[in-house]
């Protein structure tokens, strides 16, 4: 029987387009210092460490964990380094969760980061394509994502206007988030009129490119109370994948996210996600992704995402607020984003989100993943 695991300390950097004052390792150190202080712990109290980043080509340092370990004073500890594209931070947290739930660690530090100002983001992502079959025509993740959004418009009604509503909502929410670095309100019309980059994706559908790190301390029930009287308990957590170019793969709904949410909802006793969750944090690399998550997470039936966002229900004052933090639109240090979403949800159910607390939030849903649809995970956190 797995043990209960709680998030007992959180920390993140003030994300920025470019941090020239710290190295990658220095960036990680900032987030770790904040998370340990928040959990009232020092590195001596930590049993195991998970370090998560995006692809090595993002910032040209191979095996960065060797550098990071020195910078955070984790010499001699059990260290796992994990990478899983955009979902790296979330996958790192899942690995930490397994360690504590399985009884191998009482306290695990998970730190995730990317310093995207250093490399060529879209070109680096293009190297994920098959070098024989498609890489020479790849335009990072943007060309591909835009193509399948276009296909979803016809099948699921994910219109440009619906995605623009997501972008306007999240950009507005980011203004209150002290860690976000893009803080500018835009209207739905502004988004629709912004420059097409990979149409239908337009400039304001796209989050910033960021430098940032985020860390959480996971603790067993036995020791969690040393850090806080109100941990954010992980009620369920899963991360699933699917075949990349299989015949039956439509890429309309995200099958891995539907699978992950089914597993997690069963573990957490969720039967009506729209009604039960108080707050939702999702990783939306482009605005159009959030529409898909509404459907794959069961917040609405397939084909009704546009209606859901238009209804205002996912606004910060709606009945199912999605990304009150502003999501990726405020800051997008890709490898760190999974942990940032967990931090935002955790502070909500701990009742200590200073800038955008949802009143009486007890149950939160977190989504994260990499690729267009092929790596997807979610978690349920509760007070």
């Amino acid at each position: 029987m797995a043990r209960h695991v709680g998030i007992v300390g959180v920390g993140q950097t003030h994300h920025a387009r470019r941090r020239t004052d710290v190295s990658q390792a220095g960036l990680v150190r900032e987030a770790v210092d904040r998370a340990l202080a928040d959990a009232k712990l020092s590195m001596d109290d930590i049993d195991t460490v998970v370090i998560a980043t995006g692809p090595v080509l993002f910032a040209a340092v191979n095996q960065p964990e060797k550098w990071v370990v020195d910078a955070i004073g984790a010499q001699g500890k059990s260290v796992v380094r994990l990478t899983s594209g955009g979902g790296a931070g979330f996958a790192g947290a899942l690995s930490g969760y397994y360690q504590v739930a399985g009884g191998y660690s009482e306290r695990t530090l998970v730190v995730a980061y990317d310093k995207l100002s250093e490399g060529q983001l879209q070109y680096s992502i293009s190297t994920l394509y098959d070098p024989f079959w498609g890489r020479e025509f790849a335009v990072g993740i943007m060309g591909f994502s835009a193509a399948y959004w276009r296909a979803r418009m016809d099948v699921l009604g994910h219109t440009e206007e619906a995605a623009a509503m997501v972008a306007a909502k999240n950009r507005k929410n980011a203004i209150a988030n002290p860690y976000a670095h893009v803080k500018k309100e835009v209207s739905v019309e502004d988004v629709l009129n912004s420059k097409p980059l990979c149409w239908p994706i337009k400039l304001l559908d796209v989050p910033p490119i960021s430098d940032g790190a985020a860390a959480i301390v996971l603790a067993s029930e036995k020791v969690a109370h040393h850090s806080t009287g109100r941990p954010a308990w992980i009620r369920g957590m899963a991360y699933c994948c699917e075949a990349d170019n299989a015949a039956e793969r439509s890429l309309m709904l995200s099958e891995p996210l539907a699978l992950a949410s089914r597993q997690v909802y069963r573990a957490a006793g969720i039967t009506n996600p729209r009604r039960q969750f108080d707050v939702v944090e999702v990783q939306e690399p482009y605005s159009c992704f959030e529409l898909n998550y509404y459907e794959s997470l069961g917040l609405c039936p397939p084909g009704q995402a546009a209606e859901l966002v238009a209804s205002g229900a996912t606004q910060i004052d709606g009945d199912i607020p999605v990304n009150p933090s502003g999501g990726c639109m405020g800051a997008n240090p890709i490898g760190a984003v999974g942990v940032i979403r967990l931090i935002e949800a955790a502070t909500q159910v701990m009742g200590r989100n200073e800038s955008h607390q949802i009143k009486d939030a007890n149950l939160a849903l977190v989504q994260s993943g990499g690729g267009w649809a092929n790596l997807r995970g979610c978690a349920v956190l509760s007070a």
Partner: protein, 308 residues
């Protein structure tokens, strides 16, 4: 009983691929200060609260992660503690006087002139800036006096960004399925897949095992060079590494006779028209390149819309 199967390596041509990437790396305060100070021919080190001195300067102690209490100037003399020769170049570890770690650098001498414990001193290359190679290397200096670590009154501001570039060359093995796929493209100008188990449609690119059923795939099948767009977007931004003139269409196309996508491009005149004329379901046809075929996907130069 463990027995080795009767298989062996066969040497075959490979597929060459290159990844070229420019970077703007952030050295951080310590390394940034070290790199800024080489123009003054000073070697900047970190001194930690324990009294430990480390050169070049580091932001965090490799012992316990502590931050340094001060940057100091290390002497330019030291002792050789290890050396080797790589590609005719001698590389050594030098413990600078008063420091507690070893610095890796070139040793400007032949192996027969060197011994462990040998005294050495730094030689600078004034033509090099913002790099550890501004120290050209260390030269044997038998009578070098033992230097001392000195306090610094002021330092240059740390460098915020260091340009860097990486060029990676790969030789990918085709394997039997990709091997035949690209041989057929080069020799016969046709795109061949393998049948999905229980179906007549072909998987592209061909593969040994079906992704869904995990059954062995079937016989080879030539696909048409016409097909249907499954998904597409209009590329309208400059992206590093993409030289094609924008706007153009990125398309995922299912060739007639296939069940999976191939990625390609369609040229367009203007973005607004393409929004309505090129979409999922649009029929397209391959335009083969006119030169000698190379056995690559780019032997198809582009796709074009089949006018109704």
């Amino acid at each position: 009983m463990y027995s080795a199967p009767d298989s062996y390596a066969i040497d075959l041509p490979t597929f060459h691929s290159e990844i070229n990437l420019p970077y703007t790396l952030t050295p951080g305060r310590a390394a940034g200060t070290f790199l800024a100070e080489v123009k003054n021919q000073r070697i900047i080190a970190s001194r930690f609260a324990s009294g430990r001195v480390v050169a070049p300067a580091q932001d965090f102690s490799s012992i316990d992660g502590e931050e340094p209490e001060a940057f100091v100037e290390a002497p330019q003399t030291g002792t050789l503690t290890a050396f080797t020769r790589v590609d005719g170049q001698v590389i050594g570890l030098v413990r600078l006087d008063g420091c507690d770690n070893e610095l890796v650098h070139r040793i400007l001498a032949d192996l027969d002139q060197l011994a462990i414990g040998q005294r050495v001193s730094a030689e600078w290359d004034l033509a090099v800036e913002q790099s550890v190679l501004a120290i050209k290397g260390f030269v044997p200096t038998p009578d070098a006096a033992v230097g001392t670590v000195r306090e610094l009154v002021a330092t240059e501001d740390p460098l915020g960004v260091i340009p860097y570039a990486m060029k990676l060359d790969f030789e990918h093995a085709y394997g039997p399925y990709y091997g035949r796929l690209f041989d057929e493209i080069r020799e016969n100008g046709r795109v061949m897949g393998v049948r999905q188990p229980g179906h007549d449609t072909a998987l592209l690119p061909p593969r040994e095992i079906d992704d869904i059923s995990h059954a062995r795939t079937g016989t080879w099948k030539a696909c048409a060079d016409t097909g249907t767009i499954r998904a597409c977007s209009i590329i309208n931004m400059e992206v590093y590494g993409v030289t094609r003139k924008v706007p153009y269409v990125y398309a995922e196309i299912v060739l007639d006779g296939a069940s999976t996508k191939m990625i390609h491009v369609i040229e367009i005149d203007d973005l607004e028209t393409a929004k309505t004329t090129i979409k999922p379901g649009t029929r397209v046809k391959a335009v083969w390149s006119t030169g000698e075929r190379q056995g690559r996907v780019s032997d198809i130069e582009r796709f074009e819309v089949i006018e109704a």
